[in-house]
Every structure is written in C-alpha cells, then in structure tokens.
C-alpha cells in the first residue's frame, strides 16, 4: 500500500518534471506518456482486490530506465530523473503486500482447477 502511494507521487512528479526543468518536447513526450500509466496502475492497486496491478508498473518503470539511452536524452537532468525514478518504480512495484481479504481466491482463481470459491 505505502509502495503504491509512493509510486503515485513519483508518477505525479514525472508528469510535472518536464515543465519544471524545461525539457525538450521529445523528452517531455516520453515522460507524459509513461507517467500516467504508472499513476493509473498504482491507484488501481491501492484496492486489495487488484493489488497485483502493481506488478504492471515494472513495464513503465523499466521503460524510464532505458528510454534516455534509446532516445539519447541530451539533458543530464532528464536522464537522471528518468533512470532514478524508473529504478524506484520497479523496486516499489516488487514490494510484497499482505492481503487480508479472500475475494474467492482473487483473479487467479478464474484460471485455477480448484479455486478457493468452489471448495
């Protein structure tokens, strides 16, 4: 839960960072495309039933780590913010959360042979 909240904050920061640090349009676009995805997955995962949504943030997190190298970000600030934020997002996405509710076995039950809600 706390990890998801921090990821929401990082995502919000990544959305406003291009305006604060005056990034070029092409760099700003990278931030503006991936940051809303981070915020969305993190917010969705705040509810226990969808806590697994947090793992989806590994994708935009990794994207922030590699995108400065793929698109050759000229601004060192833009590079550092992307890489450091990306590493933090990935690490926070991996934080395990204690799930208290049962939810009939959750989403994975739909693919299981003997789901909890049928026993």
């Amino acid at each position: 839960m706390w990890a998801a909240i921090i990821n929401v904050i990082i995502g919000l920061f990544l959305m406003i960072a291009p305006a604060i640090f005056h990034f070029d349009k092409s760099i700003a676009d990278q931030y503006h495309i991936a940051a809303p995805v981070v915020i969305t997955c993190a917010i969705v995962s705040l509810w226990e039933v969808n806590h697994s949504a947090h793992y989806f943030n590994i994708v935009p997190g990794l994207w922030f780590i590699i995108t400065p190298f793929i698109f050759h970000f000229q601004s060192p600030t833009a590079r550092w913010i992307a890489v450091v934020s990306g590493v933090l997002i990935v690490l926070l996405s991996l934080v395990k959360r204690k799930v208290k509710g049962k939810y009939g076995g959750g989403w994975r039950s739909l693919l299981q042979k003997h789901p909890v809600h049928m026993q």
Binding site: D29, V37, T40, I43, N50, G101, K102, Y103, S109
Partner: protein, 188 residues
C-alpha cells in the same frame, strides 16, 4: 438489510461486493464525473462561450477545441458524459445479490468503468503530447475514472467466479449470464 448482506456474500469472500454501501458511493462519484463532462461538452457544443480553468489559462479551451477532441462525430466530452450515465445506471440496477442474479449488468458495469477509465488515461496522455496543453477539468475527470476502476471490479470478479462455478457444475453459462432462476437456485 444486514441479514441479507450476510446471505449475499459470495463463497470465500469476506463481504458482499454488490452491497448498496459498495455501489452507491460509486454512483455518486460517477455523477460528479457526469456533471464535469456535461459542462465541458456543453462548451464544445457552443452553449457556453468560455470554459473554467483555474490553473492552465486557455489550456482547457485548447484541449477541448483540438483535433483530438473533434475526432468523433459528437464532441468527446459529450461521449464521456454518456459513459458516466452508463456507469450510474449499470451501477444502480439490481439488488444486493446481483453478482449472482444479474451477471449481465455487473459485466456491463465492468465494461463501462474499465474502458472509460482507459480512455481517460489515453486522453490525459494526448493532451500534452498532441495538443500541447493541460485541462484542469479533463484531469479531474480522469482521476474520477481511475479511482472508480478497482471498487467496480470486485463485483465483476464475484460474477465471473459465479459463472465459473456454473460452468463447472455443467449448467448453462448463457442462462446464468441472463439470470435464469433455475440455475440461480442450483448453483451457489
């Protein structure tokens, strides 16, 4: 009502995701989204000559009159408003056992909330990338759409698990989907 609440808890759940206290707050939040979208839609239709934006100056105006906003036959905020109407209606139809008695409406509700949320995120991304401007009310609407996703999907999960039990027990999933009484009585 509290006695019913106990009886309507799906197998291996701790609460009833179709309870009114779960669904009414969602309908209220969706109604707020509706009025925001309606206001922007009326501006797009020319009913209002100006549009309110406390933070981004003419940002809202630029977003709402952009090529993206006008890519559909009717203004995109009007489409958003219709989406919120679908959220409210499909959120309120049915009793507290609707995850079992009306899977079709729960799944419709899930479809209304899920894609509407996804579209909102897409529009948030398109604002700065294509239009080059931000819009306060559009961002507010997007936040509303995103916070609705999880509270709506728990009910969807309960309905899908019910249909899974129907399928495993050899009854017709199609009938159960539409709330066939004989299936409801045979499968928990």
């Amino acid at each position: 009502m509290s006695a019913n609440n106990q009886a309507y808890i799906p197998p291996a759940w701790d609460y009833n995701p179709s309870a009114w206290h779960q669904r009414v707050p969602l309908a209220i939040v969706a109604s707020i989204g509706f009025f925001i979208a309606l206001y922007m839609g009326l501006y797009q239709l020319g009913v209002f000559s100006t549009v309110w934006d406390p933070f981004f100056g003419d940002g809202t105006k630029r977003v709402l009159t952009s090529s993206v906003s006008e890519a559909f036959p009717i203004p995109d905020a009007v489409l958003g408003a219709l989406g919120y109407v679908m959220d409210v209606v499909s959120g309120l139809v049915g009793n507290e056992d609707r995850w079992k008695t009306k899977p079709w409406i729960v799944i419709l509700f899930g479809i209304a909330v899920g894609p509407l949320g996804a579209t909102s995120i897409l529009l948030v991304i398109l604002q700065p990338v294509i239009v080059g401007a931000w819009c306060t009310l559009c961002l507010t609407s997007a936040v509303i759409s995103v916070i609705m996703i999880s509270p709506a999907t728990d009910e969807l999960l309960a309905s899908l698990q019910y249909l899974q039990r129907v399928k495993r027990s050899g009854h017709s999933v199609w009938k159960a989907f539409w709330g066939n009484k004989s299936v409801i009585n045979k499968v928990n």
